[in-house]
């Protein structure tokens, strides 16, 4: 199925939750409502014509200007088609719904996004830091991140 058909399918089913799309990109992407990612993901996985059973990658992005986002790279091993989903949020209200109940692999990826970008993943079963120490302050992959001077009394910059 082409990206345009996938987009039309989603648009027909979810309407307003599909915010925008760029279908002529190198890898076409669709922006969705950050509060409805779970039901959209469930539809993408279970609809027989779509069957996105595999999530290749889930990445957090800081787009500068106070905008954060998550990018979902989806793939169907049955139909061999791909699509990129995006969900955006602001730094003031960084909330995006979890999809880890749909794809198990999203669990750790979402923890990483929380760890690195401070995006709070709503309904995540186990939202803890994953790569950094549990008492680390700040979210390092944000573009405006400043390295702290001390961590537990140890000097950080080397």
């Amino acid at each position: 199925m082409t990206a345009e058909e996938i987009y039309n399918n989603l648009k027909a089913k979810f309407g307003d939750a599909i915010v925008e799309a760029k279908l002529d990109a190198l890898q076409p992407w669709i922006v969705v409502d950050p509060n409805r990612t779970k039901e959209i993901a469930l539809f993408l996985r279970d609809e027989p014509a779509l069957q996105f059973d595999s999530m290749m990658c889930l990445s957090g992005v800081d787009y500068n200007g106070g905008k954060l986002g998550i990018v979902y790279h989806l793939f169907s091993m049955v139909h061999k088609h791909k699509i990129v989903l995006k969900a955006h949020c602001t730094k003031e209200n960084p909330h995006i719904q979890s999809v880890s109940s749909v794809w198990g692999t999203a669990n750790w990826h979402e923890r990483e996004v929380f760890d690195m970008y401070g995006v709070v993943i709503d309904e995540h079963p186990d939202l803890r830091r994953i790569l950094l120490p549990y008492d680390w302050e700040g979210h390092p992959l944000r573009k405006d991140y400043k390295v702290p001077e001390f961590y537990n009394g140890m000097k950080v910059p080397y």
Partner: protein
């Protein structure tokens, strides 16, 4: 370090539990055992928090990040795109060439450049040699996990020969910086093809020898069959890849199903686990998939050496690499599975965002699922069969 956890009362005394000599009822309790971060069987600095009931594992909680070195943040602060390549080497230090391959493909896809055919063939040869070297580490150390030391020495002896081939080519034995954007750092030396053919001829009977020594050894089979079974649907849902996925009987290999370089011109086939010794997707299946993949890699190397065209090893690329604003996700099949790079360019000379989708990270996330209900002694084998490299897990 062993500590006990307070539990709901229904677990504390069971009806009919035996009494101690002083007349107290024997309590049964869950226990938390800490394994790692410094432990020979965790293959690096991985910490596993294991909840056990007697010898049965109830839950495993991996704690990672001990080797985190900010790869993604570093990549955003490099002076140019080329400088990221040596960092990619250090993601998975057992299979550095495959990491480079994925990254340079991502940048080339974004730049929309084609590399000369000779480059593609040399890349395939190097990637497959590296795959053999990496699988030799995997099966060798897996043998140690199961208590067999000799196969490890066999594996490392043969790996040494591959490292010598790399040393002859680019001077480095572990972290190569050999694949460059648009080509290679330099051509292979004239004697390389002969030596590589020699290695292939030598290595084929060695695989059989290794199989006789370890894979079909009755003790090893009894130890690994029916252990740590990863069902097909769980493997796909957790996006497992590489030998983990193929061991579960899914016929899926990116070299064939999402082809890159010149794999589509070469005849070979992905090997899958069939449950010959036990259940499909058990630890033994993942082991045999790695063994058989090495045979396939030898086939690929031989064909690529025979078809190696003459020509340049560097495409014409701009001196200062500035891809147009855009984004791309490129994935390749590394020894551990699908390695993806999600690269966003904003039109400047450094990546705006580089996300590394590490196969070891994803494969490790399924460990709690496949360990529940197993015996604690088998956890070492299950963790070993996922073939994680902590450099890649923690990035």
């Amino acid at each position: 370090m062993i500590e006990t956890k307070t539990l709901p009362t229904q677990y504390v005394t069971q009806p009919g539990a035996p009494k101690t000599s002083s007349g107290q009822t024997v309590r049964t309790d869950e226990m938390i055992i800490n394994m790692g971060p410094q432990h020979p069987s965790t293959h690096g600095v991985l910490r596993l928090e294991i909840v056990v009931d007697g010898e049965i594992i109830i839950d495993v909680i991996p704690h990672i990040g001990y080797l985190h070195r900010c790869f993604e943040k570093h990549a955003e602060h490099m002076a140019n795109y080329q400088q990221v390549i040596p960092y990619c080497d250090r993601l998975d230090y057992c299979a550095a060439i495959n990491e480079e391959h994925s990254y340079v493909l991502a940048v080339e896809r974004l730049l929309k450049i084609e590399v000369p055919e000779r480059v593609e063939y040399i890349r395939v040869i190097m990637a497959e040699l590296q795959r053999i070297a990496s699988h030799l580490i995997a099966v060798g150390t897996f043998g140690i996990d199961a208590g067999a030391f000799t196969p490890f020495l066999y594996a490392f002896h043969d790996r040494e020969l591959i490292l010598s081939l790399f040393e002859m080519t680019c001077g480095a034995r572990l972290l190569y910086n050999y694949f460059w954007i648009g080509g290679l750092s330099h051509d292979i030396p004239p004697q390389f093809a002969g030596k590589a053919k020699e290695f292939c001829t030598y290595f084929k009977p060695r695989i059989k020898e290794f199989n006789d020594l370890l894979t079909f050894n009755e003790i090893f089979v009894k130890r690994t069959a029916n252990v740590g079974v990863l069902p097909k649907d769980v493997a796909i849902n957790y996006a497992c890849s590489g030998p983990m996925l193929r061991g579960s009987g899914v016929n899926w290999d990116l070299r064939r199903d999402d082809p890159y370089s010149v794999y589509h011109k070469i005849e070979w086939e992905p090997k899958i686990g069939k449950g010959e010794m036990g259940t499909v997707g058990d630890v033994w299946d993942r082991h045999i998939v790695r063994m058989r993949e090495m045979e396939e890699s030898v086939k690929i190397i031989e064909q690529a050496l025979a078809a190696l065209p003459e020509g340049n090893v560097q495409a014409a690329i701009p001196k200062r690499i500035r891809p147009d604003a855009g984004e791309v996700y490129v994935r390749t099949e590394t020894p551990r599975g699908e390695l993806g790079f999600y690269l966003i360019s904003d039109g400047t000379g450094t990546p705006f965002r580089l996300k590394c989708r590490a196969p070891a990270f994803v494969n490790l996330s399924v460990l709690p699922e496949i360990s529940r209900g197993a015996m604690i002694a088998d956890l070492v084998l299950i963790a070993g069969s996922t073939d994680i490299v902590l450099g890649q897990v923690d990035r």
